[in-house]
């Protein structure tokens, strides 16, 4: 938090602008397969950042993320579609995000009071009840077969035709830029939150609710606001996923999806935007890549092979289940912690280091302090 000098500021901006530029030129070099992986990763990253804020920063275990993704996705489909009010798609996108936030707000009587593991199971209820509603409220959700997603003009089709530097800009390229823009927005806002007053209050809440409250943090309000904000990111991710899939079905938004998101933030390291992003890319891209390259991988059968053999989807799930276990047992603060620890070590090697005690790794999920 030192005052930035001109040089550090330049470095600071360089570190942010360069990756963004790189991501911007990708469509000129990659084909649709890779862009799709990228798009799904971006969408997952947006959702994972939201869950990271809730579970990693504020310490509230949530298994209900799939529900809020569903609210965003179905909210957009209904608001922009027919049956539904048929609003302009951009407006529907914004409203769907707000709707997801409102759904999080409706849950706040529970989120503000129920703690720890109890909250984890309570959020489980959201997924099951939500799935039930998606299946039964046919008129809005289309029931078991779901609904097709109204296009977002200019992003989900190839009209008007656009060719840049000899590269035709189809739906994949355009959606990539939409995803990139939304992800940049997510990154910008989430970092602002985390480094600002709300982030410090939420961290304090996680590390010790007692200490936070005597420092003036309104515990119940911050707990429920964290839920609302996290749900809005989930809603945004839901809309983007709906646009990418072109069809929403209830079975996608099942418990397994919530678990996927939990896996992303755990693998990436709780409490950081970069960690959540890394985890999201890992969990999203892994099964897609394994499916694509199944024939070149040892021990993995081609997709659609007979029962009982290890297909690429299974192989991916083994890997990421094991990744959760190994990350938590061996590097409790995830990929982010690994890099941070390396950085700290480098800093400690320089003489003016003021450390007098060794750095303890920060566990991924911080225990509550006991009340004094």
């Amino acid at each position: 938090m030192s005052e930035p000098t001109a040089r550090t500021r330049a470095l600071h901006w360089g570190r942010r602008v360069l990756p963004l530029l790189l991501l911007c030129v990708l469509p000129f070099y990659l084909d649709a397969f890779w862009l799709r992986i990228g798009l799904f990763s971006l969408a997952a990253a947006i959702g994972a950042v939201g869950l990271g804020l809730l579970t990693g920063t504020a310490g509230q275990l949530s298994l209900g993320h799939a529900f809020f993704l569903a609210v965003g996705a179905y909210g957009y489909v209904w608001l922009a579609g027919e049956p539904g009010p048929g609003l302009p798609p951009v407006l529907a996108l914004v409203l769907a995000v707000l709707l997801a936030g409102a759904a999080g707000g409706l849950f706040s009587p529970v989120a503000g009071r129920v703690r720890g593991i109890y909250l984890g199971v309570a959020t489980l209820a959201l997924v099951f009840l939500g799935h039930h509603v998606l299946l039964t409220a046919d008129s809005v959700t289309g029931g078991f077969n779901g609904r097709s997603v109204p296009p977002l003009p200019g992003f989900t089709d190839s009209d008007p035709q656009l060719v840049l530097l000899g590269v035709p800009f189809g739906a994949a390229e355009r959606l990539w830029y939409l995803g990139l823009a939304l992800f940049a927005l997510t990154w910008f806002t989430a970092c602002g939150l985390l480094r600002g007053r709300p982030g410090r209050a939420l961290t304090a809440l996680r590390d010790s609710e007692t200490a936070a409250s005597v420092m003036g943090v309104h515990v119940a309000r911050y707990r429920s606001t964290a839920f609302v904000v996290s749900s809005m990111y989930a809603g945004l991710a839901g809309v983007l996923l709906a646009l990418a899939f072109r069809r929403v079905v209830p079975d996608y938004f099942a418990l397994a999806l919530s678990v996927d998101y939990l896996a992303m933030i755990v693998i990436g390291g709780l409490g950081s935007v970069a960690g959540a992003t890394a985890g999201a890319v890992f969990v999203t891209a892994l099964p897609l890549l394994m499916t694509r390259y199944a024939d070149q991988l040892p021990l993995v059968a081609a997709p659609g092979a007979a029962d009982g053999v290890v297909g690429p989807t299974e192989a991916a799930r083994y890997l990421y289940g094991a990744a959760i276990v190994l990350v938590l047992l061996y590097t409790p603060d995830g990929l982010r912690g690994l890099t941070r620890r390396l950085r700290t070590r480098r800093r400690l090697e320089r003489p003016p280091a003021t450390a007098t005690s060794s750095r303890e790794p920060t566990p991924a999920v911080r225990p509550k302090e006991h009340t004094p």
Binding site: R197, A211, V214, M215, S357, T362
Partner: protein, 271 residues
């Protein structure tokens, strides 16, 4: 220790008045009809053997524990029914016996102390509105000032987890000061420190009291420190107030000697 931080002399803090407070836990009386008054700008020590109810008393003062009967008033405000965060906003800050710092740097922790004085909410921080950015900068300057006052300026950007035990206790102390409290509750501020660190903390407490003009309520086992710092002493035993007065009066009180010698010897000789 730098005392150069220029600050206007704070206005006189309000009086903290504890009246007939009783706390029961499942049939056990932790505090029994305890009363005392912390006069503005004084250092008031709360002493007694382990389990005498000192920490319970702090929990009542900071709103973590609701008394069965009795009242706590700060000036005109009644604290007894308020939630902890409201009490903090009224200017009561505290430290804990076991260190409770949060993840991040010293600066992050001190900025948490600025929570009640800042306003930026979720939307303003997320969008990094100019006023949120400006506010953050102003409060960072304030936090740095307090770090200087407490001798933490060298560690300002150091992760708390890298600091020594004594320094972490100091972080908690500085964080409480960041609240700009009118009453500061210190729960065993020198426990676990070596002699040099103790002397330094004692000096800091004296300095901030003089400079910021706040009242201090002190729970401490180190009798030497209590006797040097306190203007007034209240002695608790089994949840009851058994003595009260200036350090010299309390020192000679037969009840106090009995309470201490009968159960355990204080860390430093009372005499």
């Amino acid at each position: 220790m730098s005392t150069s931080a220029p600050r206007p002399q704070a206005t006189e803090p309000p009086e903290l008045r504890v009246q007939e407070v009783t706390v029961r836990f499942a049939g056990l009386t932790a505090l029994d009809d305890v009363s005392f008054t912390v006069s503005p700008g004084s250092v008031h020590a709360l002493i007694g053997p382990n389990g005498a109810g000192k920490s319970t008393c702090f929990n009542v003062l900071s709103g973590l524990c609701r008394p069965a009967s009795g009242t706590v008033r700060l000036g005109d405000a009644e604290l007894t029914r308020l939630a902890p965060h409201r009490i903090a906003a009224l200017g009561v800050a505290r430290t804990f016996q076991n260190i409770v710092t949060t993840e991040g740097t010293v600066a992050d922790n001190l900025m948490l102390g600025r929570h009640v004085h800042s306003r930026a909410g979720f939307a303003a921080s997320a969008l990094r509105l100019p006023r949120a950015v400006r506010e953050q900068r102003e409060h960072l300057a304030k936090a740095r000032e307090i770090a200087e006052l407490t001798g933490l300026e060298r560690h300002f950007d150091t992760p708390v987890a890298l600091l020594s035990y004594g320094d972490r206790k100091r972080v908690e102390f500085a964080r409480a000061l960041c609240l700009e409290p009118s009453v500061l509750l210190l729960d065993e501020p020198v426990a676990g420190m070596n002699a040099a660190e103790r002397a330094r903390t004692a000096e800091t407490v004296r300095d901030v009291r003089a400079e910021l003009g706040l009242s201090v309520v002190l729970v401490e086992h180190d009798m030497g420190l209590v006797m040097r710092l306190a203007d007034e002493v209240t002695v608790l035993d089994f949840g009851r107030r058994i003595a009260h007065g200036t350090p010299d009066e309390v020192r000679g009180d037969p009840e106090v000697l009995r309470a201490y010698l009968g159960t355990e010897t204080p860390q430093e000789d009372v005499a």
